[in-house]
Amino acid sequence: MNIEQQTIIKNGLWTNNVALVQLLGLCPLLAVTSTFINGLGLGVATLITLVLSNTFVSIIRHWTRPEVRIPIFILIIASIVTAIELAMNAWFYELFMILGIFIPLIVTNCSILARAESFASRNPVLDSALDGFMMGMGFLLVLILLGGLREVIGQGTLFSNANLMFGPGASAFELSLGDDYPGFLIAILPPGAFIGLGLLIAGKNSIERYRSKKVILVSAPTRPAEAPASS
């Protein structure tokens, strides 16, 4: 794996994370993350969309014309999302009922168009697919982290409704904090989503600050070599 691909991976998961740094796609992020499984469902759908749209955009990048490239990207993204929506409706019906409007709304998740325009239309197919996967993964991780947090604090369970995604046997995945947990309503309501996301962003920033201090103190000489990768 060359240095460029390492950069792509690091960018997607951390440095340029869609949800925590670019702050894109917040509407579905805030709306569906009331449980872990909801977050996972939307995360996987977004991830697949990103990989496919980046791949296609990269394949056709030499054939488009600058004047119509944005409409063409949107056409590609919309077709892919509609296909995913129909597939989910057919094979994950109950989960689809819960996620509802937020699946078609993936089309309007600006992170997808942003990756098509700023990365996939300028890079080879494999790198673009990897970029889509890693950006999607970064988004998915934030979704399940936030969903898990809100679910545990709000209703005292984790992985509830897992059967919607993994079949009837998965009901056993559900963990509970005990039946007498009173629940903490605000975590499930919309304010909980904003507060949770704020805490996640703050957490990421403080980790970064801590790390950069450490790098300067402990291994100052290696800093210049790393610099191009992180910029």
Partner: protein, 241 residues
């Protein structure tokens, strides 16, 4: 000339991609259509079976649907599908939708099942936007509150008791949410009034159904008048309380 050529190629390019996109979506639609239809029917059937257990009837419930005209007692503004559960040709129960317009956050859509004798078979919430954690206890998956309607009827409890406890009635409210259960109780009561007024149409048996197409209109007129009566009586009920 050059500009013309450029515009044409650009337009053709866009058209090409639109065609490819449409073809992809069409292809997937074609392959998922059957499954999606089946899912929707299965989901509906599951819901109906929650209200009237599958062992109680022997007809194809989903095939035995008919349209109910809009009615203020049901809260409906357009025709809506209802279902008859039959055993050996006799209607044992009818399941129809009702809308409670005055939930805490918009209307609450219900499915109400009523047995031939006028007792409630069951009630389920299909769609609502009540507060999660407070009003959403009307969902069967959140609490068993909604199951307490089973076995109730117009006389049991008496009309004045068809209210939440805070209003002097028989039904529990939730901690922190009175408006939601109040709306549901009132809607179920109205559905019972509607059933009482339209019994003839709702309970039509298979035997009657075949020969009596002409009677249908007469029935409808009759019931319309009865229904008016029922409506006004329920109104006086309200103001008396």
């Amino acid at each position: 000339m050059n500009i013309h050529k450029q515009v044409t190629t650009t337009a053709l390019l866009l058209m090409l991609f639109a065609t490819i996109g449409a073809a992809l979506v069409g292809f997937i639609y074609d392959h998922t259509y059957e499954t999606i239809k089946q899912n929707e029917r299965q989901a509906l059937l599951n819901q109906l079976n929650n209200i009237v257990p599958a062992s109680h009837y022997d007809n194809a419930l989903l095939e035995d649907s008919f349209e109910l005209a809009p009615d203020p007692l049901l809260g409906t503004t357009e025709p809506i599908a209802a279902y008859r559960a039959k055993k050996q040709g006799e209607t044992i129960a009818v399941i129809f939708p009702a809308i409670a317009p005055n939930g805490y956050n918009g209307s609450i859509h219900l499915l109400v099942g009523i047995y031939r004798d006028g007792t409630v078979a069951g009630v389920r919430v299909i769609r609502h936007r009540e507060t999660p954690g407070l009003g959403d206890a009307i969902e069967a998956s959140r609490s068993d509150w909604i199951t307490h309607f089973a076995g109730k009827s117009l006389g049991q409890p008496p009309g004045k008791q068809w209210k939440v406890k805070r209003d002097g009635g028989q039904f529990d409210q939730f901690t922190g949410a009175t408006i939601t259960p109040r709306a549901v109780v009132k809607s179920v009561h109205s559905a019972l009034l509607y059933f009482a007024a339209n019994k003839k149409i709702l309970l039509k048996d298979e035997v009657v159904d075949k020969g009596a197409k002409d009677e249908k209109d007469v029935d409808a007129k009759d019931s319309h008048e009865e229904q008016k009566d029922a409506g006004s009586s329920s109104n006086t009920d309200e103001s008396g309380s």
